[in-house]
Amino acid sequence: MKEKDLKAEANKQTFVMYAEKEDGSYGAIETGSYLIENDLDDFWGKMEHLERQMREKLLKAEISPVQYYMVIEGLTPAELAKRAALPPSKVRKHLTMKGFESARIRELSKYSRVFNIPVANLFQIVISSAGKNIKYHFYNKEDNRKETLTVTQNECQNPFIIITKAEEIKA
């Protein structure tokens, strides 16, 4: 790999890569990413496809919110069980709506910590004006133009309460 080939890929996200420098030495060079340069929109598209697919199932009650977030965040039931410190059998049960109905708030709180979402979001999907879950807001330029609101969720001292705030985007 030669330095000049890396420089062609430089873009907004800086990475360190190793290459043959112009003086013939080998070493570290700050550069960009091939993926971000060429495939970021496609990457977003695939993540959005997955989110839409899982959301449709969730809205039809074919899966539980626990399964929705687990799949999107690339976790297996076994890994989720370890992370939430719950028995694997219980996690498997909570992946279905029937099992989810019997989950305790304490258990949901453990899931919400793993997924990095408020507990309240296990009972709702907060969507942006472009129709996306704000948690998985995979921006692309076109959708950015459609946005008229920003939605933020802020924690408070009460771990079960979240303040969801919608603000108009000023032009």
Binding site: M1, T14, F15, A19, E30, Y34, F43, L75, E79, A85
Partner: protein, 335 residues
């Protein structure tokens, strides 16, 4: 508490080697990331399937934590480390060390690092970074993947340090107690090379080293069976590019970084043979880069038919063949 420890922040290709190198540099040892990687026998290959993984997965570096452990063994660095069962105790211990002006390295789940762009954040429990202070309730983080020192809320650091699951950090922290200023690099380099060759050629498991590469090559044609749909398969093929290039490897799955190490090693050991091996490793890396670019294009164009997967498979078999020859030669040179 408000404290900011003077620390020279530097970006690095990889989190653990970058974190360890920064600590060593901060402690007065002039050593490069590539040298730390080589001495620690960082170069590796493993291919994994099974219930523990949502999809077949490969790795290109040695076990997380080994970089620190191997620098202790081979350079004589003394690290103090601790894990915690109790979150509050773990956070308190960190704060106390910061108040003593100690830069503290920590292991976290990358997913909770708010300052990293969303598209880079995945659940992986083996991200390393240095904590260089705390101001107004926010920790000051020197993360090798980020161009400058950043702030991280206490709640995010806590979640990251105490995420459960595989390779759970359990609040793991470490910092140097003593760093030799002039260690015998020549001995460390030879030991590092020997262990790397052993890992690549002789570990008696069928999914590690060259055997792992061949398993990957043979298995990739079956990936469609594991995918939920074509979009998922496309995503997993794109991840080959991410794992080899963007996920902190320095390019080509650490092969370019290892080539740099061999070049520096040849100068220290005054062995022209290692210079030639360094050039060969750079070429091997170019081959891996062709694989990662092909996989990215296949994924992007949804061109993922059996013929294309077979071509990718043949390219990986090719890398296994050249790396086997390479590491056999390198092993004889390091005796």
């Amino acid at each position: 508490m408000n404290t900011r420890i003077p620390f020279q922040h530097k970006m690095a290709a990889h989190c653990e080697t970058g974190t360890v190198t920064a600590q060593l540099n901060n402690g007065g040892l002039d050593i490069t990331e590539a040298m730390v990687f080589g001495i620690s026998s960082g170069i590796f290959f493993g291919y994994f399937t099974g219930k523990r993984f949502p999809f077949p997965h490969f790795i290109v570096r040695n076990q997380p934590g080994k970089i620190r452990e191997n620098t202790a063994k081979r350079l004589g660095v003394k690290w103090q480390s601790a894990r915690f069962k109790n979150e509050d105790q773990g956070m308190k211990a960190l704060d106390e060390l910061l108040l003593q002006n100690k830069v503290v390295s920590t292991q976290v789940d990358f997913f909770y690092m708010d300052y990293i762009p969303d598209y880079l954040r995945v659940h992986i429990n083996v991200h390393f970074m240095n904590i260089v202070g705390k101001e107004d309730g926010k920790y000051l983080i020197s993360d090798s993947y980020f161009p400058k020192i950043v702030e991280l809320p206490e709640s995010s650091l806590r979640k990251g340090r105490f995420a459960g699951g595989n390779f759970s950090p359990n609040g793991f922290i470490f910092y140097p107690l003593s760093i030799p200023t002039a260690p015998d690099l020549s001995v460390a380099i030879r030991k590092g090379i020997r262990k790397a060759c052993f890992n690549m050629l002789k570990l008696p498991v069928p999914f590690i080293g060259i055997k792992g590469m061949r398993k990957f090559a043979g298995h990739i044609t079956e990936w469609p069976k594991y995918a939920m749909d074509s979009e998922h398969l496309s995503h997993e093929l794109s991840k080959i590019n991410i794992l080899l290039e963007d996920q902190g490897t320095g390019g080509a799955g650490f092969r370019f970084m290892y080539a740099t190490f061999l070049r520096q090693a040849s100068e220290i050991l005054k062995e022209p043979g290692l210079l030639e091996m360094s050039t060969q490793m750079m070429e091997i890396g170019d081959g891996w880069r062709e694989i990662s670019l092909k996989a990215a294009r296949m994924g992007k164009n949804r061109d993922m038919g059996p013929e294309k997967l077979k071509e990718l498979s043949e390219m990986i078999y090719g890398r296994a063949d050249v790396e086997e020859k390479f590491f056999k030669t390198l092993a004889t040179m390091s005796k």
